[in-house]
Assembly symmetry: C3
Homo-oligomer: 335 residues x 3
């Protein structure tokens, strides 16, 4: 896609310093940019790369504009403006409607004529798929699933059953939504499976990463609100409720019936035990496991930074000897 | 399914307080229940919901029966009884036998006429699939696999090769059983792949969660005994042996050659380093990594609960300063 | 495959103690071996099994040769020699070339006549697949992917787009390579997707485990160098660079833009936060999360071994009371 800098400035509300008639065709990193590229500066540590860039223009804050050796698109939020410019220059492929001859669609599935069902996909009876939705190759849509307009299942995605999803979602390959939750009752003869009868309700503008899983609810539904972002290899157990615009980095795991507020952020490998409640605007740092309710916004953590093994071994030994140390200090205080 | 309360009481060995001729059609949560629903009380914290429920009857312990405003099905183990009642009211769909025209089955695979092979499934030569077994859409059954009666592979499941599985198992979507274990020998030119020649033996009544993996053994088989429950995104490495009725919550990871006893429970994100032995009846709490043998039943843990980042930073600094603190206390003791 | 011991000795550079004309047909563990098997001793703890073995010959170090009750193949690196002998006795199945009639291959994909495309696989336009490469059942190869000679995608593998892969790689089932990285910019209306425009470049002799994910780069490529070994359920985020011959055990997670050196080893469930740099020859023990640059080779760790829950509870309480303990010691020092 070719766009004039002046048009980018108008469309995305930036002040342009430079020639509005320069045409750009792509986005690039500061040091990978050429004369037809737009780049961005969001991180002050990249100032050296800015000074040397050959981009046509750089999206940056007004404070940094004087340092740009090339054109400048001034934005209060350069990374968000960059995201919009990148989407304009590199648009998603248009969805060519139709059902591939190597797809298998049940007779009573409702496929909008403007939807696309790719090769190897299987759509079960009772599923409903809206206009502009793209069911990628080798995906499976089970009974009772309803998928809103403009949603894309990239490839090899599985919606087991009763997944109700909004518009403009992106589901990466290997994601499994609507599998049975882990419900088991202990009886003398062993575990008895507790039937998982709820579904999954997913809002609009949600992204789910590759090989992540979101289980159906036991009785009520599992709920993912609008704008939630879930990275790869995450697990959302049955009856979890994730508030709008919450983001979870890779390998986050949320156990059953957890209620998460809006605009929370979970670092990689973080998670929560079951049945806790986490309020809005909580940041959970990487690897931290939440073990009790959080009622105050803030940043939470529970992990140690790495040490050399020989040093750490001593640290562990000292932590284990803390009981004796407390006793020794008490004895000193008494004497 | 419609069932009289009296029949439920008889079938599942409960005392019924209430009208045996009331007909119920579904299970529901205490507060979501209507007059045709059965609910349950397993958690005393739900007493308020019990008092307000509109269910036809509630499954509960005899101690709680007086608090039920509606009918009561008395059980020593309400959750297990609930699981059985739910399965009776919401039976699994019957397996309609047959091979879908869009499945690909090798000529020398043995498919029982009462088995079902769904659209997009591929079954390799030499596989044997018993009566009542349901190979879900887009699943792959590799050479040498033998699957017992009444087992269900929900969708998109991969059995790579030489997986011998019992009866009535449920394998959730995306699970991969029988992939190569992670065997690598270091040589001057880099890693050499160690051929993985064993298979996987899985007992009966086993459930494996979505996107979990169970690798084949290096020489001998990886073994999962009867009644084991494995949640989503778990990993069982080569030559692990999991004892009967052990349960693993999501993201549990067991490294190679670990031997786990019967009736163990692993919390979410827990795991074990390789080559350790864990006795029967061990509970491993969430996120705990087992690093040495466990020879006594009990509950094991190694993780810290979350703290606010500013508090935790101080905690970490103090832990790292412990060496000096021990020295200071020794000095005080000498003086 | 049948091979004389003498031929194994010659081919793999071992000294043979024993009859060169004995024919062996398989490898086996020391205690599972029969007279047509070769076994190995790499771990001194297995000496008892060595003394009782019925193998035809055992691969071992010269120091251990006197303890072998049967033939001995002397090697400085018995495990690597074993890996080579096992591959000779149990060769991978030959790739029978051709496109299965139930595969779907785009007209403008370039498939070498000596490649194999299995049932249910889908290959998109513009993909190029070299001789001897085996695209297993139900795999998907997206646009712009180029796969070198002799590589095997076992089954159900997804290459989303623009994956450039070398020769002799093995990709286990469910792996997803080239999905979008987790790029999101925060704007007043919520998260905006940052288009992910880079690809993934993978060297030769790389193995990727079941259900692992390697994301495409945001602008530049994600890079996996030659000889890297990645186990199951690992995640490599966008723009990570993994140096040659680095190995990662199961559930390792590397966040975006991390640069990892050559010959590193990551234990199970370990990982790194984003944007850090890890030098060559670093060992990260299981569950350790790297949170800052590592510039010196060595072994790093940050996790505690398990304790009984009642002991651990006290340890956690003491760690949290450390602030007061430091104060008490200071007070003692002053008095």
């Amino acid at each position: 896609m070719s766009i004039r800098l002046g048009e980018l400035a108008t469309r995305f509300g930036c002040e342009l310093i430079g020639d509005p008639d320069v045409v750009v065709r792509r986005v690039a990193s500061l040091d990978g940019a050429t004369g037809d590229s737009v780049s961005f500066l969001a991180n002050p540590a990249m100032k050296d790369e800015l000074l040397a860039t050959r981009a046509a223009a750089v999206i940056l804050r007004s404070d940094d504009a004087a340092d740009s050796p090339v054109g400048a698109l001034i934005s209060d939020n350069p990374y968000a403006t960059y995201a919009r410019v990148a989407a304009a220059l590199h648009p998603e492929p248009t969805v060519e409607p139709g059902v591939h001859p190597a797809a298998v669609v049940a007779e009573d599935a409702e496929i909008d004529p403007a939807a696309r069902i790719d090769a190897g996909a299987v759509v079960a009876g009772g599923a409903r798929i809206a206009a502009g939705t793209w069911i990628g190759p080798r995906s499976y849509i089970g009974p009772g699933c309803v998928i809103g307009a403009g949603t894309r299942l990239v490839a090899g995605v599985t919606f087991v059953r009763d997944v109700i999803m909004g518009e403009r979602c992106v589901i990466q390959p290997g994601a499994v939504i609507g599998a049975d939750g882990f419900g088991n009752a202990l009886a003398p003869e062993g575990w008895i499976k507790v039937p998982q009868l709820g579904g999954v309700r997913v809002g609009s503008d949600v992204e789910v990463g590759a090989n992540s899983t979101i289980d159906c609810g036991a009785l009520d539904d599992t709920v993912i609100e609008d704008g939630v972002r879930i990275d790869n290899l995450c697990m959302i157990a049955h009856n979890v409720h994730v508030g709008a615009h919450t983001a979870m980095a890779g390998m986050t795991g949320i156990a059953g019936s957890v209620r998460i507020g809006k605009r929370c952020m979970f670092g990689g490998k973080s998670g929560s035990v079951g049945h806790v409640s986490i309020c809005d605007d909580v940041v959970v740092l990487g690897k931290c496991m939440i073990t009790k309710d959080i009622t105050e916004p803030g940043t939470y953590v529970s992990s140690f930074p790495q040490e050399l093994a020989r040093d750490w071994k001593r640290t562990v030994a000292r932590v284990r000897a803390l009981g004796r140390l407390f006793d020794r200090v008490s004895k000193l205080e008494k004497s």
